[in-house]
Amino acid sequence: MSTATTPDVKGTPLPAGTSYRVLGTRPVRHDGMEKVTGRARFGADVHLPGMLYGQVVRSPYPHARIKKIDTSRARAHPGVRAVITGADFPALDSDAVKDLGEGAIELRYASQLIMARDKVVFQGQPVAAVAAVSLQAAREAARLVEVEYEPLPVVQEALAAMEPGAPLIHDDLYTVVPGGAKAQRPSNVAKHVQHERGDVEAGFAAADVVVEREFRTAMVHQGYIEPQNAAASWEPDGRLTVWTSTQGHFSVREQLADLLQMPVGRIKVMPMEVGGGFGGKVQVYLEPVAALLSRQAGRPVKMWMSRAEVFTGTGPASGTYIRCKMGATKDGRIVAAQLYMVYDAGAFPGSPVGAGAVTGLSPYRIPNLRVDGFDVVTNKPRVQSYRAPGAPQAAFAVETVIDELAEALGMDPVELRLRNAAAEGDRLVHGVPFTRIGFREVLAAVRDHPHYRAPLPDGDGTVAYGRGVAAGLWIGGSGTSTVHLTFNPDGTVNLIAGSPDLSGSRVSLAMIVAEELGLDPHDVRPTIADTDTVGHNDVTGGSRVTYATGTACWRAAQDAIAQLKPRAAQLLEADAGAIEFGGGEFWVRDAPDRRIGIKQVMAQLKKTGGPIVARGVVNRLKSAPAFGAHIVDVRVDLETGKVDIVRYTAVQDAGKAIHPSAVEGQMQGGATQGIGWALFEEYVFDQGLMRNPTFLDYRLPTALDVPMIDTVIVEVPASDGPYGVRGVGEVPIVPPVAAIANAVYRATGVRIRELPITPERVWRALAAAGGPSQAG
C-alpha cells in the first residue's frame, strides 16, 4: 500500500479549448449485458445449499396491545424448522440514535420496527416469523401463528395526532427541539425544527403582495419494482453472512450489529444487485429476521416480501400538511416567507422534515423568514427516505405560491424566480452558505428553451391546455467512500468499490478512472465488493456516489499514477522524479521521446517491484447543491377532470455530466416519479388500514401516462470534487409536482393544493368555480 498522500481536489473545469477523452461519452455499462440477459443476481435470486424459506407474520391492526402469541401450532407444522417472535431479539431500551446514512432512527424504535414486542403501532408490523422447507410450507405455518390483540385507538392523521388529548402512540416519546429546551410531557410530536432569519413580520408588512396557502400531500411509496429480500446464514462458529439488495451493505452490517448485539467483525454482508431503492432500501427489515431464523434452524434462510408487505411493512414517503406564506414587493423582490410544515413520520419518529425545512425556501434570497417543521407519529407505516427526502412536498407549496405571486405581480414566473434566485455565498435556510451553484443558469435555460415559448394548442371547451414551471433544490450528500485499484498484466484495472449500483454508477466510476489513467472505460472493471473486501462506504443515497465515490476514484487514480511513475522510471532507465504522465503514457521530462504506455508498465509490474494497490478515500466534501427546473404542458379534460401530460422538459445543473445518458435517465425517471406523485399515487387509509396495497390500486405511471421527457443538462462546476461534478439523482423529483399543479391552473383557472391531482379533485374544483364554461 502506498504511503503517498493523495492531493485534495478542487473543482477546476477544463481550460477552454480542451476536452475530456472519456467523460461526456456514453459507453455501454459494464453490468448491462448480465442485466439484459437475466444473469444479474439480485437478492431474491440467491440459492444456498439446504436453504429454508422464511415468512413474516404481520399485525392486522394499526394499533393494539399484544396479549399473547401462541406459536405451538406453527412449530408443529412438519415443514417448519424455526419460529421466532420479539422475545428472540435483544431488548434495546437505549435512546441512542442510529444514523443510517440516509435518515436516522432511535435504536429502540428500529428494533420494534423489525419485530414488535408488547404492542403493535402500524398495520403490517412484524410480530413473528417462521422458516420452513418450502415457500408453501412457510406460508402455511405463518397462518398457524396465533396472536391475541387488544385493539387501541388509532391515530391516523398527523394534524389530529398533534392535538392535545390525542392518544399517545409512544409514552416514552418527548418532543425534541434542536437547540431548544427539553419537553416535559410525552407527545406524538417527535421533533420541532425551527429556523428564523431577519424579522418576518416586518418583512410581510413591507410587502406589496402577500399570498398564504395550505397544501396537503399524500403518503406515497418509492415503488421500486423489486421487493425487499434477504438471505442469511448463521454459521456454527457465530459468524453471520447476509445476502441482500440494499443501498448500503455497510449500513446493513451496522444495523445488524446493533439490533442483534454482536460485533460487526462477525458479520459479512454481500451486496446483491438492487432492483430500485430511491431511499427505501437503507433500513433493514428482513435481514435480522432471516439471521435469527437461520440461527435457530441451523440452515440458511431466504425471504422476500410480497408487494402488499412492501406497501404496508416498509417505509413510504411522508404525507404532509404545509402552510406557506410569501410576500413580495411590486418590483418582484421576495421580502418575507413563512413555512409551517407537518410531516407524518408514521409509527416511529424520523420523517425528513429537517431536509424539507431547509430545501423549501433556500433556493431564494429571502431576507426575512421563519420555518417551523414538525415530525409527527401516527399509526401508519414508518416512513423512509424517498428521493430528495422531504423536498418535493416543500417545493409543491413554495413553487405554487411563487406562481401565484408572479400572477399577482403580473410577472413571468421564471423571471420572478430569476430575480430572487440564490447564488454562491447566499445562505441556505439553516445558515450554511451555498458553494458555487447553477440555479440562475438553470432558470435562464428554461426561459430560453423553445418549449417555454412554444404556442399551446387551443382548447375546445371540452379540453384545455396549460403550461407550468417549477424549480427544485437538493443539497447534495458527501459522506465516506473507499475504492481500491489493482492492476492486471493485460492492461486492465480492477476497480473495487463499495457503493451499491442502483442505476449504472459502475460505468461512471470506471470512466473517471479511465479518464485519469488514459484507458478505455472497458479496461476498467468495476466490482461492488462485500463488507469484508473493501473499506467502509456510506450508503448509495443523497446523490453522493458519482460525487463522493467518484472523487475517491479520482484520488485512487492519482495514487496509482504516483506509484506507477517509479516503475516507469525503471523501464525507461530514468530518475523517478523526471517522469511525467498524461494520456496514458509516461515519459522522461527532458527527453519526451523516451516514453512508455501505462499498459506496458502494468504488464511488467512483477519485474519492477511487484503488485500495486492504489486507493482513494473520501471522508467528506463540501456539499454540491444541485438545481433543476421543469416545464410541463398538460391537457385537462374539462368534463372528467383528467389530466394528461403532453410535453415535458427537464433542465438540471449536473456540474459535469460524466455519462450524459445516465444523467438523462436520472432526470427522466425522477420526473416520471414526480408525475406519479402529482397525479396518481396515494396510500388510501381507513382507520389506519391501507386499502390499496397493490399496483392495481396504487397506480404508478405506465408508459402510456408519460410522453418522452426532454432533457437539458446545464454544467456549472461544483466547488469541490473533480471536474466540478454534482450528484444528479435526487433533484429531478423536486420540481414536477408544483410544475404540474401550476400547469393545471394555467389550463383551468383552478388551483389544486392537495395531492394527488385526481380527476375527481379537478372536476370538483371546476364545478365549484362555476363549471367548465368558467375555466381557463
Partner: protein
Amino acid sequence: MPKVWVPSPMRDVTGGQHTLDIPGATVREVLANLVARHPQARERLLQPDGSLQPYLLLMADGLEVHNWDAPLEPDSELIITAALGGG
C-alpha cells in the same frame, strides 16, 4: 475570532443573538467558551457526557465537523444547526 451561528430556538439563552463571536483555536475550545459565556446553552448543545446532542449538526467553513480538535481560523464560521435527518 470565529463566528458561531446558533439554532434559532437557542436564542433565548444567547441574549437573542443568532451569531456570536467566540474566541477559540479549535471547535472544542469555541464550544467550551460558548457554554462558559452562556451556561444555559450547555444542555441545549451537549449531552451529559459532553458530546453533541443528537439532532444537531456542526458545520465549520462548509464542512461537517468530525474532529473537535481540528483548528479553526480567526475568520472561521462554526454553524450549529438541526441535523437534516434524511437524505
